[in-house]
Structures are given as C-alpha cells and as structure tokens.
Homo-oligomer: 594 residues x 2
Amino acid sequence: MYKAPVEDILFTLKHVAGLGPALEEGALGDLSEDLVDAILGEAGRFATEVVAPLGPQGDRQGARHEGDGVVTLPDGWADLYRQWIEGGWNGLTAPEAYGGQALPHMLNVAALEMWNSGSMAFALAPTLTMGAVDALTKHGSEALKEKFLHRMVSGEWSGTMNLTEPHAGSDLGVLKARAERREDGTYRIFGQKIYITWGEHDATENIIHLVLARLPDAPAGTRGISLFLVPKFLVNDDGLLGARNDLFCHAIEHKLGIHGSPTCTMIYGDGRFGSEKGAVGYLVGEENKGLACMFTMMNNARLAVGVQGVAIAEAATQKAIQYARERTQGKAPGHSGEGMSPIIDHPDIRRTLLTMKALTQGARAICYSCAYATDMAHHTEGETGRHFAERAALLTPIAKSFSTDVGVDVASMGIQVHGGMGFIEETGAARYLRDARIAPIYEGTNGIQAIDLVTRKLPLSGGQHVRAYLEELRAVAADVAARDDAGFGRTAAWLEIAVTDLSEATAHLMAELAAGRMSEALSGATPYQRLFGLTLTGIFLAKAALADPGDGGREDRVALARFAAENLLAETAALKVQVISGADSLAAAGRLLA
Amino acid sequence: MYKAPVEDILFTLKHVAGLGPALEEGALGDLSEDLVDAILGEAGRFATEVVAPLGPQGDRQGARHEGDGVVTLPDGWADLYRQWIEGGWNGLTAPEAYGGQALPHMLNVAALEMWNSGSMAFALAPTLTMGAVDALTKHGSEALKEKFLHRMVSGEWSGTMNLTEPHAGSDLGVLKARAERREDGTYRIFGQKIYITWGEHDATENIIHLVLARLPDAPAGTRGISLFLVPKFLVNDDGLLGARNDLFCHAIEHKLGIHGSPTCTMIYGDGRFGSEKGAVGYLVGEENKGLACMFTMMNNARLAVGVQGVAIAEAATQKAIQYARERTQGKAPGHSGEGMSPIIDHPDIRRTLLTMKALTQGARAICYSCAYATDMAHHTEGETGRHFAERAALLTPIAKSFSTDVGVDVASMGIQVHGGMGFIEETGAARYLRDARIAPIYEGTNGIQAIDLVTRKLPLSGGQHVRAYLEELRAVAADVAARDDAGFGRTAAWLEIAVTDLSEATAHLMAELAAGRMSEALSGATPYQRLFGLTLTGIFLAKAALADPGDGGREDRVALARFAAENLLAETAALKVQVISGADSLAAAGRLLA
C-alpha cells in the first residue's frame, strides 16, 4: 500500500527545487519551514490513510452514467470529497480574499503529487477546480468572483474546463461552440464539448463550467474564442441556487484508466430543461480573448499533469519494491544455503527498481523546480521576476512531458517486476499503467509540448535564458567534480557529457529556427525534450546528493545519483544524434507514409 | 481495421530470414514458393476477414467463469474456433502421421503473427495446443500419441501447459503438485496450477492438459519433476470420450488484457466428480525428466510469444497510420492554404510512425530468422545441423524479449498518435497495449530471457557461435557500404558502430563469465539483450533494403533502413555503456533497496 514519501518530498523541495534558501531569505513572505513540514505531513497522512485506500474501489467500480444526465461516483467517493474539502486542501494556493490560504504553488504541487499517488482519478477533481479558480481569479470580473469564487475555493462547488470538441483537440482554433449576447450582459451558450473531466458527478451541489465558445461576429481561428463561466445551477444574488441551467452530461467515456473520474460529453443549449434554449453564461475576461485567458492558467495545469506522472511513478515504485522484497524465486548470484532469494536480490530486478527510483525522483525534482520558479516569479519583480517567469515557462513543457512519460514507463516496469501477478487486475500494478497512460496525452500532448519547448521557449530572451540555464547545470557537474568523493564514481564526467550534448542540441535547434527551417527543427523536438528531461534528472539527483542536511541519507543519494549518471545518461548522446542529424532521414522516409 | 501484411511477411521470410535461398536450394524438401504464397495468402485472408473482426468483441465481453467449472468464451468464438480448425490451420507443422502438414516452422510463425494481430487472446488457443502437440510428438509413447495426437493436431481437442503454481513461477524447481503411481501404469495427479491459458472453455469437447508434477520419491528441485498428460475427459480405447477426469477450473483471472482468453486456476484431484480422488494422468517421457521435456518445446513457445509482440506492433502501427491520415489538426510546416493538415504531416507524428514501422519490421525479421534456423536445424545434419540449432538457441531469447518489448512500446506509441481517442476503449488502440503487456512476462520473463542469453547462449561452442554471427552481421554493414547508394545516407557507418558496440559488449560479458563474475555479468544482461535486438533490427532492415526482387519497394525499404540506422541505432552506444560499466554503480546503489 502507498505511503506518502513526505521526507523525500520535503527534501526535494528544500534542497533541490530551492524552497530551503527561499525560506531562509524570506522570499516567500512569512512562511516558515515548520508550517511547510506540518502542512505536507498532514497532506501525506490524508493521502495515505484516506485517499489511497479508496483508489482501487474507484477503479473497479468507476463513475457511472445513470442516464438523464446523472453521473454517480464510485462508492465512498462523495464522502471522500467531503472530507477533502473539510480538510481545506482545495484552497492551498487560492487568494485569501476568497477563503484560500495563498500558500506557494510548491506546496500545492507537492500535495497534488500525494493525492494523485492515492488516486489520480480522484485528484483530477480538485486539479480541475483549482484550474478554474486560477482562471477566474486572474480574469473574472469582481462580481463574478464574488458570486462564485468563495465556494469554488472551498471546494463546495467543483470546476471544469470545457475546451475540446470532436474535431478540435490540439487545435482549438477550429472549435464551433457558439455564444450569443443577451441584452442583460449575459450570454447563451450552444454546442457540444467532449472529454470534460468531472463534467458531472454527485459530490457537489453545483458545478462551475468554464467554456470556450465563439461569438457570431468573432474573427476566425484562435483570436475569435471567448471564455464563459456556465454554472450547472444558476446562482441567485443571495447566493442560493436557482434554476437548472441548460446544459447536461450526455454520456461518459469508457476509458483505459482513471475510471473513477467521469469523462463527460457535455451538451449546451438544447433546451431539455424546458427553459429558453441556451445555457446562461457569463463572460470571463474580454470577448475574443478567451484563449489568452486559458493560456495564463495553462502552465499550472500542465505542471499539475506532470505531477500526475511523478505520482504514479512513485506509487508504482513503492509497490514494486514491496513485492520484490516479499516474493522469492530462484537463487540470486552469491546466494548460498537453502531456499530461494527475494527477487530484489536479482541484478535485473535491482536495475529495474533503481531505474524506477531514479526516474521518479528526477521527474519530481523537475516538477518542483518548475513550481519554485512559478512562486519566485510571483514573489519578485522586474528583471528577477522576468527571469523566474521565463524559467517556469521553459521548465513547464519538460515537466509535463518528461514526467508523464516517466509515469508510463515506470508503471510498465512495475508490472514487469510483479511477473504474472502484474497482469492480474487485483494486484493493482496494472491500474497504475492504465491511469498513467492518459497523462502524456491530455493538457497538450507531449508532442505539442515539444513544439512549445522548441519554438516558444528556446527563443525566450533571444536564447539567452536557456543558455544561462545550461551554464547553471554545468556548474552542478563542476561541483560534483570538485567534491572529489569516490562514491560519485564517474558521475561528474557523465553530467558534463550530458550538459554538453544538451548544449549542442540546443544550439542546433536555435540555428534551425533562425534559418527558418521549421520542419527540421520540429523533427528533433521530441528527442530534444527527452534529452532535456534526462539531463535535468542527472543534474538534480546530483544536486540532491551534494546536499547534506545531516539526515543520514547522503550516501543513498550519492549512490542513486551515480547509478543514474553511469546508466541513464548514456542515452543523451543518442538523443542528441536524433536531434541533430535525424531530420534528413525522417524526411526521406516520409515516402513510406504517403 | 487490420489487414494482414502478406506481402511484407513474404518479403521478410524470403529475402531476410532465408526462406528464398532455402527454397531455391531445395533445403526444405519439395516445398514450392507457390505453395508458400498460397498458404500465407489464405492465412492472411482468414486473419483479416474472420479472426480480426471478432477481436474487439472478445475483449469487451471476455471469457466468463459461470461457476461449477464452466467457462464460456465470448460470443462467436466457439464458431470462430470451429472455422479455424476446419481451415486446417492447427496442423501446419504437425507430423503427417497424425494428420498434420509437416510444413516448415517459418510458415506457422508467419501465420501465427497474423492470427495474433487479429486477436492475440484467440490465437493463444492454437499456440498452446501446438505446444502440447510438440511436446507429445517428441516425448510421448506411441500409444499415447495414437490416442491423443490425431485430434489435437486437427484442433478438435485443445491442449494446455500446466506449469505455474502460486509460489513457483520463474522457478519451477519448487513446484508442489504431486503424482502417485498406480499399478496399471497410470498416475493420479493432485494439486493446484495457476495462469493456465485456455485451461477451460466451451469450444472443444475435450481439453488435453500437460501437467508438471512431482513423484513421492522424486529428487528435490528441477530434477524431480515429471510431465503428465491429463485429459479433461478420459478417452476409451475406441476413441470415444469416457468419464470426466478429476480436474476442474476453479476460477479465471481478471486481467489487464487478453480478456477473451480464459486464464484458469486448475484444481487436480479433489474428488469433486465423485470418483476416486486424483486426476488420471499418463506419463510423458521419463519420470523426473519432465522439465527436460518442456525445454525441448520451450524454444518454439518462446518464439511464438515473440511473434505476439510483432503481431500487436503490426496491428497497432496499421491503426495509427490510418488514424493519422484521416485526422486533421493544426498546420504542419510547409502547409499552405486553407484547412488543417492531416496529423501524419506533422514531423513528430511522422517520427513516431516510422519508429513503430522500423521496430515492427525489425522484430519480425528477428522472429522469422529464428524460425528459419529452427527449420534448417531440422532439415540438416552434422555440423550444419548443429550450427543452425545453435543459431536458433541464440536468437530465441532475443526474439522473445525484444519483440515483446517492441509490442508494448509500439502499442503505447499507437495510443499516443490517437491523442484523446487513444485512451477511449471503443477506439481499439488501448486494447493493443493491454494485450501486449503480458508478452514480456509469460513464457519466461524478459529478465529470465536475458539470463538465458548471457549465461547459456553466449557460451555456445565456447563462444565461437556468437562471434561468427557478429561477423555475419558486420558483413551486411560492409555490403551497404559497398553499394555506394546515396539513399542509404550514413546507414553503413551506423551499422558498423552498432555491430562494434555489440561485439565489445559480448566480449565483456564473456570475460565476466569466464572470470566467474556472475553478478557483474547479470547486471548487464537486459541492456545487452536489447543491444542485440536493436543491432539486429538495423542489420535486418538493411538486408531487406539490399534485396531487389523488382517489386518496386526497394526505395521504401532503403528509406526505412536509413531512418532506423540514423535514429534508432544511436542507442547502442548507451546500451553498451550499461553493459560494460553499469555493474559497479548498480552494486553501489543496492543499499537503497536494502
């Protein structure tokens, strides 16, 4: 059973991501280390004792569409949700004016990891609500905020994001949902949306949908999309619920995983509730600026999905290690005497488990570092603020894509460690793979993240930002070399190679971009993204190993950093090759797909 | 929808695996190319038109345990099985004396690929029956063969393999099922077996179980295991079915995939059918030599599982390409004018699809080459026979492990190409991943294959066999270089590097073995196995590209070989690093798992 790794999480936050120095310098206001420890300790307890035990049940039973727009959550989940909001977990980062705690994003990201390890399907509810709160906070009118935010921050009402339509997924510019103006300043929304996470359920009395739609006179494409708040039940001025709005859940999807999370097809404005046709909507932000509103919250949402990858990887790794300790089979090298060895003693199983551990901790460090940059951007101004905003922007696609790939890979390795048991659903290892598999897809596929990384993030500050970051990474390699600790083995050399590979690949892509060779640049985008993530994994594990807070864990961290450097980082050379010289053969082989 | 790639399959058999020259030289008796084409053409039609359409249904409905030992197949599957045996497909390679066609193994492997692409869950039935036929043919007494083989070769009766017990999976030496001698020369079998594929079902009137069990006076460990034939219904001397034997299916597993295939827990000898306790069994081979009997058929079974990986990869690739052609989203580089591009025009999707194609065809070539070696070993004698037997032995673990890993990876890529649709079960892409995930586990986990490859296959002929094979591979690289065809790009150079990496890794492992450093050798076994498979992929794709039978496909094959060499083979250097210098850090990091 999953046990929240609160110590590992706190260590990564403080000694790798940057929370420790930030606390010392008072960069995050009056937040104290004791409060951080207390909050995450309690989150860990809740994730371990309350959320995780209900994960398997949610998977087996799944959310059910009862017809007539009614969706029922798995047994126990409505109560779980109630406990969740009573714990105050929904409003960690939300503004105090609306009942939130205005804590750093880092804490929420760390807590999210633990909720997701317990049950990714469950954790999607607050993830979506937090996204809606974020968008509304930044772009909603005061009246709208006053009416809706309090109960969304508390979690009393949940929130959703309605973006996708059948023909409009990665490319939102072609969406067709339409909005009509009314004289009272409200709008009426019509259309169909698909893949709406927690679009309907029985855990909250109201659901607040944020919906992208197009006004009749809107420009074509992405500049003609507006964002609307469309509640399931209208809210009277006294705050009480009013009429049912003209929207409903038509069906829910039968999915590979996250069965407890209802993925809804939503219909807006078909008049089924007897009212005038059209779902009542309220404009968020300006007309035709809806996509810009979404983009301001997209970084947080993408990071939250990256964290899902970390969460699944952590849970899968724990489960595999536990099984490998208990299961005996064969005799490992060096085993003498009677009986069989625990399979954890077999070198192949060891290699797998250590790879799982290294990738998980690397992905965690990347996600937390991204959250740190977001927080620092929020708490600083001018050049410094811009620096951290760029850092967060650069790290976001890597955090999202690398971590979600790690989630899938590590979950698959976890099944393998279990042997035949891994394929049996009751064991629980398979659920991790099924749940993990969506994360590289939604919130922008990892291929879209790679395009974002190469075409929008590398050019930040004319390329200076990423170049400076590469030098920061190189400095970590130099610190390892300077430490002259035999425990590190050849770690410093491998880190140096990885950073050099990443630097060369970066320079190549920037040259392609500068020359307008877009197809060539994009041909290498995905291997480049992985190259970046893998290099960061090596660097961050080394950074963790360099720290020594006297917790007795240093030697373990050195050993893991060395394992990662000497085994996983050799892949950076291969990825560099794909980035730098893969485009020609990719183009030549296009004929096979014609 | 899946369409059997008969042309690709025939090309690989003839021009890569070696069937073409073998036919020309008459090495396979009077088998003609026309007959090969006709058989595989018809197999392709059957797989495409009859098997594949029932795959999704089998997955959705699954096999059902109705209680009381009764298992019902998905709707339509009993009829599908009837059509299958009427087509004569079950006996392709079986001895003519028992109604088989005694055709080369290569043809059966190619046909198996197509059945598995149609439905891996369905294809498991004949796969297991063929394995039982194989074991019985080689080790059964004449009386046993006469009584059972005819109807097993026809498929009228299906067969199973009963090896695993809850505590005995990879390590069969500790199995506990027991056998007692009876004065009439028969035995009585008692015990529980798990994970018995197609252990019970309603498609055949009898099921012939091959069961490993231990006699009371047997030596401990693997040298005390005997093999028994234990039919569901006893068979009278007139061939009619007699009494129900004392065995039954206690439960079936709820699995991640292959839902149509009943995975049974079998109970032997609990007396539930009112007879004297103990299932009547007949000894196959000699007492206490059961494991040796299993080993003679294990190569074929392992190859058959490898083929499952190829099959899933092929089906997943076809599906992804089809979707990527139809789905439009965004504008690819160079797209001008109105509308969106088919996603197949986006470089990232292209890279994914070409990777899927290259890995699938590489794995296919490895499996078929292994089948070729098996056939040639069967059709030749003396030194030549031994050479081919060693070749088959060497290639078997690679065919099993590399291909099944490819099956999982390619199925996962296929989901990614489908975006959100890939996560929806109705689409069908997710089924491929769910089905594929068992193949790296059963019939010896891929970790076990790696141990076999390093500790038993590399030492064949004192290491001479693998060394000679490496020179054969190097010759292909030289042939590409000599061709001086610009279409190959830097293919020759990358092949040369890959073979060199593989050679160095091989020499390293053989030195570790010679020095008795078993733990160090095994630490690198899995990356070595992948290194071998990846190198073979590059070499075999190049070999395919060198052939020019005038079918108009040469340029496509050259482009794919180049893509694989210039993009995928860069990984060989990383794998070599893991093999050669990964062991120290693996050992040092053991402390994290203590």
